[in-house]
């Protein structure tokens, strides 16, 4: 291959090079931009910000939509000296309030006052005053709650700008089962970088080194086994340390 003149040869090379650069740049710039990571499907992560109460512990007729007062059934109910098992309407209640295991510790035993609580000195207390009833035993917690060290808060920490909504005891705690129900934790943090990639174990699938059980020490690292029968007989400790006779 020959060119008539050096200028023509240089020109042809320059044009060819320019064409190649143009094609290369067009390819580089027009090909798809870096595809973003697909958004991790969050739809299945449903965060329920409600209290951790046992599910389905309401009175069964209440759950069915009926409204009624306690006194409509408890017209003639004696005071029980022993813990009761819940039957009938109350069988759906979970009951575990520690040593407080009598209905009438909190509910008024008088059939005429069945729609009220009873204080520890026997006075009736409306259902709306449940905070005072809880406070009669849980005084320290009540004090903390009043000062903001116990319980949930919503709203404004700066009282000059807005109100803080203070949740009552029974919003979070089931009064018959005040210990929080265990709940499923939300998923652990994802991979440090990028979405899960096929063929790679997700970050965190490998248990933490120090949480794995310690492997037993192989016998090759141990000393020779000692037969108890061959073990040297040691003198009883301190046998010779006794005070010498004077």
């Amino acid at each position: 291959m020959s060119f008539p003149s050096p200028e023509l040869r240089k020109g042809a090379l320059a044009v060819g090079g320019a064409l190649l650069i143009y094609v290369g740049l067009a390819w580089a710039l027009s090909s798809a931009a870096i595809a973003p990571n697909p958004v991790a499907p969050r739809g299945e992560i449903q965060v329920d910000f409600g209290p951790n109460r046992l599910p389905g512990t309401a009175l069964s007729l209440h759950k069915a939509g009926f409204e009624y007062q306690c006194s409509e059934c408890h017209m003639d109910q004696p005071r029980h000296a022993t813990p009761r098992t819940f039957v009938g309407e109350h069988s759906t209640l979970a009951f575990d309030h520690g040593a407080n295991d009598r209905c009438f510790n909190c509910h008024h035993p008088d059939p005429d006052l069945a729609d009220q609580f009873v204080t520890r000195d026997g006075r009736p207390l409306p259902f709306t005053e449940h905070v005072a009833l809880c406070a009669s035993c849980h005084g320290v917690v009540h004090r903390d709650w009043l000062r903001g060290a116990h319980g949930r808060r919503q709203g404004y920490w700066d009282r000059r700008k807005g109100e803080a909504e203070r949740t009552d005891c029974v919003i979070c705690h089931d009064p018959h089962h005040p210990v929080f129900a265990p709940i499923a934790p939300l998923p652990p943090p994802g991979v440090v970088r990028g979405p899960a990639r096929p063929g790679l174990a997700p970050h965190g699938a490998v248990p933490h080194l120090l949480n794995t059980p310690v492997a037993p020490v192989p016998d090759t690292l141990r000393g020779p086994a000692i037969d108890p029968d061959d073990a040297p007989a040691y003198a009883a400790p301190h046998a010779e340390d006794e005070e010498p006779a004077r």
Binding site: L20, I21, R42, G50, R152, Y156, L186, G194, P207
Partner: protein, 303 residues
């Protein structure tokens, strides 16, 4: 020297041209990620502390327009300023924390952190009862139910230290401590060197290796300039105690989400505040006291 082009010369020239094109294309590789020409205003933007109010307003308008163009969502970027006689502190009751991670997910929703790769400011450590052994703590726990017997849970987020090592190591002063105690990041000034991440003894800082990905419908449109506005790739981010909320007097999102009421927040300068009551009446401690960071995040047990 002959004028005729030999096969050898032609091949040498061709190889050189191909190599040149390939190297130019490789050098221009980052441009492929660009959507349109670079924004001159963004390139010339000053440090947060050096911007005039007009420049701040222009920057906010530009960022809001960029978010609208990217996500199709009308976000508002506020720039609430610290108030006098206000210093924020946090307290967390380890006795009632059950380790459900709802705080971390509420934080994620509030602060527009990346969903893919997932990025959460709050890391909940699971530890064996009997001591605080961070070496054996596990934050990838995933049992059927929490709390597990024999375990307790310790959420860790930014402690907003009074001696913040992350601020000390920043080579460009892109992160600093505000007068109300919040350590913030200027996302437009951060160069992404990750020194602060390495310096933090609480692992409280997160780095955006990639552009944060959030579904438009999951974006929280109420944002703050120094807190939860959409971040670019390659910058550091961290918990700001929900600065855009707390400077308006509201509680942080993680506090409102906690189902057991383990979290308390308030103003240290207010003697009637909840945080002062806890500091005065509970036996509080700080994490890694020995490293001298003077955190404003306190833990306590009361059950």
């Amino acid at each position: 020297m002959s004028d005729a082009t030999t096969r050898r010369d032609f091949l040498k020239g061709g190889v050189a041209v191909v190599a040149g094109v390939a190297s130019v294309a490789a050098a221009l590789e980052p441009l492929r990620g660009l959507d349109g020409p670079p924004d001159v205003d963004a390139w010339l933007q000053s440090h947060y502390h050096e911007m005039t109010p007009d420049e701040k307003a222009a920057a906010i308008a530009r960022l809001e327009a960029a978010a609208k163009a990217e996500f199709g969502v009308d976000i508002t970027i506020s720039d609430p300023q610290p108030e006098a006689k206000t210093k924020f502190a946090y307290a967390l009751n380890l006795g009632v924390c059950v380790g459900c991670r709802k705080c971390a997910y509420a934080c994620e929703a509030e602060n527009n952190t990346s969903r893919a790769p997932g990025k959460q400011y709050i890391r909940v450590l699971e530890m064996n009862k009997g001591g605080i052994d961070l070496e054996s703590a596990n934050h990838h726990y995933d049992p059927e139910q929490v709390p597990q017997a024999g375990k307790f849970y310790m959420p860790v987020q930014c402690h907003q230290c009074d001696h913040p090592p992350c601020v000390k190591v920043c080579p460009v002063e892109a992160t600093w401590k505000e007068p109300d105690g919040i350590v913030v990041v200027d996302y437009d000034w951060c160069i992404g060197c990750r020194y602060c991440e390495a310096a933090c003894p609480y692992w409280a800082r997160r780095f955006n290796f990639e552009k944060p990905v959030i579904k438009p419908e999951e974006i929280n449109p109420k944002t703050g300039y120094l807190s939860n506005r959409p971040r670019p790739a390659g910058v550091m981010e961290k918990c700001t105690f929900c600065l855009h909320r707390t400077r308006e007097g509201r509680y942080p999102a993680c506090l409102e989400a906690c189902p057991t009421g383990a979290r308390a927040f308030g103003n240290l300068h207010d003697p009637k505040s909840e945080i002062r009551y806890i500091l005065e009446h509970k036996r509080v401690f700080v994490l890694k006291e020995e490293v001298g960071t003077l955190p404003n995040f306190f833990y306590y047990f009361d059950v």
